[in-house]
Symmetry: C2
């Protein structure tokens, strides 16, 4: 088969003929790839920043069709008698599937808790540990725990908070749009969800002072410092980094705030003018049901954002910051913009560099930090709902406001990595068959 | 008056005759000190670690009686017409008061939200910015926003979640016990409250997988990965540092978990054997209503704790860690013991040293950190309730299980700082009048 493979030490992607992967473990599936995405994190590997030397198939975003299943699936392995979760009973050869960017078993303590991105049996696709999806086929370990089965929506449609006609919806949503469920859309939803769930955000969300904000039943506590004023309740949020994940996080945040009818002021920040322009186009494309009348949303450079936050909050700072870059400059910008008792949610993938903060600086601002990888499998229902609602943004390819710039043949992988690294193209999908 | 004063550069506390502080601003009060506490943070100043050079009166924990009030108080300044919060209407000369360790105005946005420890008009008592309470008198800026009025419990008893006969209670609680409300008890309650409120703890608390754990109304999401097992729900928590604040945090945590009937395994860790012994004595002194039948609580060295956490969780790690020391070794120990998607709540006061983590290490474990100072004013109701319930621990002086080691004349301040710094004495209170 054809596969894009990374070669050490850096900047070397080759499209090569390799053997089609086979079932190695009874929990495996083999998936024939329909589309595979090129993602910002792939550049960390491309540039040789991940301290690995192993030649491997790249890519952690893919959608496709199951062609083979290990012996733990199928009629001979009746799931109901094995004690395995239902997930392992719903896969069949021919099913259309989308994978989260990491493998997870779906049946250990960590998976049951919902922290699927850190399953001890997990691995990242397109890493030295596991070949990725920028190829014609991919092997998926722990497929029952990992894959979303798009051919069997009845197996997961009851996990949605809204009731859709999922079968009809799935017919109308393109593969390129569904591919966004593998990483950038759940990661964006995770960032927004995590920020808004943080206890330090609750006074603004509930209108009740800390700590009575934490406890819906302790109404009596309100009288201590009284209720918040409408002005106190305005959420001031900065989003640092407007690549595809930053845009997804922005759309997810706008949706969550709009749904709750909360007042907000958001400043979306990027160094790069073309990314700022893309963010503005996306914002313009969002339908009226995806924004709030109570909200203000501006896209700015960091220099402008400093002044904006000062104008909005008078030297106090932002209630929360989403860090969607993954380097120390972004962390420093987040620290600078956030208020005392503010929350910094970081979904950027960071390098092995010491973070640029003293314990005193973190103490003095009462900083809360949430770092890390999205548990994409667990975020699937919320990400799918946003995908459905925001087809005005996520359903497009190659328009001014689309997240997906183009779909190309995988033979162009080497050139596309180079162009993506240089900022010459936006998000690219590979079709490995034509 | 007599006052303990710090002299630069370090290790120099002198008890000196200085002028009694006067009203400087219409919002000020002058308080005659009954008792003042010596706290772990005072040692940072004592040792010259705070980069200050100004001679100043030390101490940020005190209880006393109002002797003077600025012109913004009293019959001539009718609060109801000024728009100020009620707090400014409840103070009178002669009132018994306890102060949180920082000043806060009580009427700005930050105070209304409840983040009183970071009021922009605030200051720490016993710092280069504001003379402290280890003296016969202290000036309290923004007294209406800052002081808890113990002579007027009706002004705040409606802020308690439980209904007590507060007047009777206050007659039976000693001044040395009430003094704990100025810092260490609210800080301990803050640490425990903050940890248990974190979104990453909610799967264990609610029995529902992330992210449905965040939303009580989205019952449908449960079917995705199913409900957690009883074993999944056991909270595994480490407490790093068993000085007086660590002990308060432990008692607060045990109380909160017991109240909610949650299963837990707690390992309380300290390098110092005498602090571990004290923690064990305190645990033994806690009445049956302050522990849970579902809980396990052990006090260990770090070496022992590593093995214990492995035995309990099989290489996964603790659900959460309370860091109550304030140095990089403690942060490293917290990182080592916590699980992926775990929460580290740090209330230790940190020095201006870079924290010992790479962004990659924080990303790879999906670490959440909450740093910073307790908003002691806002935590008063919850801290007062715990003080009342746990008089078996907080009501004692000089016993094996008491947090307060002894009460001495302030003229012994220099010797007590030395002995406290050397670990020869536990928590000391100063009586400045005999």
């Amino acid at each position: 088969m054809l596969a894009a493979r990374w070669h050490p030490p850096s900047y070397d992607i080759r499209v090569e003929k390799v053997k089609v992967p086979q079932i190695e473990d009874p929990d495996d599936a083999v998936v024939k790839i329909t589309l595979a995405g090129l993602c910002g994190y792939d550049l960390h590997i491309y540039r040789g920043q991940e301290s690995i030397t192993k030649i491997h198939v790249t890519g952690h975003e893919f959608i496709g069709e199951i062609t083979k299943l290990g012996s733990n699936y199928g009629p001979s392995a009746v799931q109901s008698t094995t004690g395995r979760p239902n997930l392992y009973a719903t896969l069949n050869v021919g099913d259309k599937v989308v994978a989260p960017f990491t493998v997870n078993c779906g049946e250990c303590h960590v998976c049951r808790v919902g922290y699927t991105g850190r399953c001890p049996s997990g691995a990242l696709f397109g890493s030295s540990k596991l070949d990725g999806g920028q190829a014609q086929y991919v092997r998926v370990p722990k497929a029952g725990g990992t894959l979303y089965n798009l051919s069997s929506p009845s197996s997961w449609s009851n996990t949605l908070t809204a009731k859709f006609d999922v079968e009809t919806l799935l017919k109308n949503i393109s593969d390129s749009s569904l591919l966004l469920l593998s990483d950038i859309l759940p990661t964006g939803v995770f960032a927004a969800t995590q920020l808004l769930a943080h206890p330090k955000m609750q006074p603004m969300l509930t209108g009740r002072a800390w700590p009575s904000s934490l406890n819906q039943s302790s109404a009596a506590l309100d009288s201590d410092t009284g209720l918040l004023t409408p002005e106190d309740r305005i959420l001031t949020i900065a989003i640092i980094g407007l690549g595809p994940v930053g845009i997804c996080a922005s759309v997810a945040l706008l949706d969550a705030l709009g749904q709750k009818g909360l007042p907000y002021r958001i400043v979306a920040v990027d160094l790069n003018k073309s990314r700022r322009e893309k963010m503005n186009k996306v914002y313009d494309a969002i339908g009226i049901d995806g924004k709030s009348q109570n909200g203000e949303f501006v896209v700015q450079s960091m220099e402008e954002a400093r002044n904006t936050v000062t104008t909005w909050t008078g030297n106090i700072g932002c209630t929360g910051v989403l860090e969607v870059v993954g380097n120390n400059s972004a962390l420093e910008a987040a620290y600078e913009l956030v208020r005392p008792f503010g929350v910094i949610t970081s979904v950027g993938v960071h390098a092995p560099k010491i973070v640029p903060f003293t314990g005193q600086a973190l103490y003095n601002k009462n900083i809360s930090f949430d770092f890390g990888r999205c548990p994409a499998r667990a975020m699937f229902p919320l990400a799918f709902e946003l995908l459905v609602k925001r087809q005005d943004v996520f359903g497009q390819v190659g328009t001014e406001s689309s997240l997906i710039d183009r779909i190309v043949n995988i033979e162009q992988a080497s050139e596309m990595y180079r162009a993506f690294d240089q900022g010459e193209v936006g998000k690219v999908l590979f079709n490995p068959w034509k």
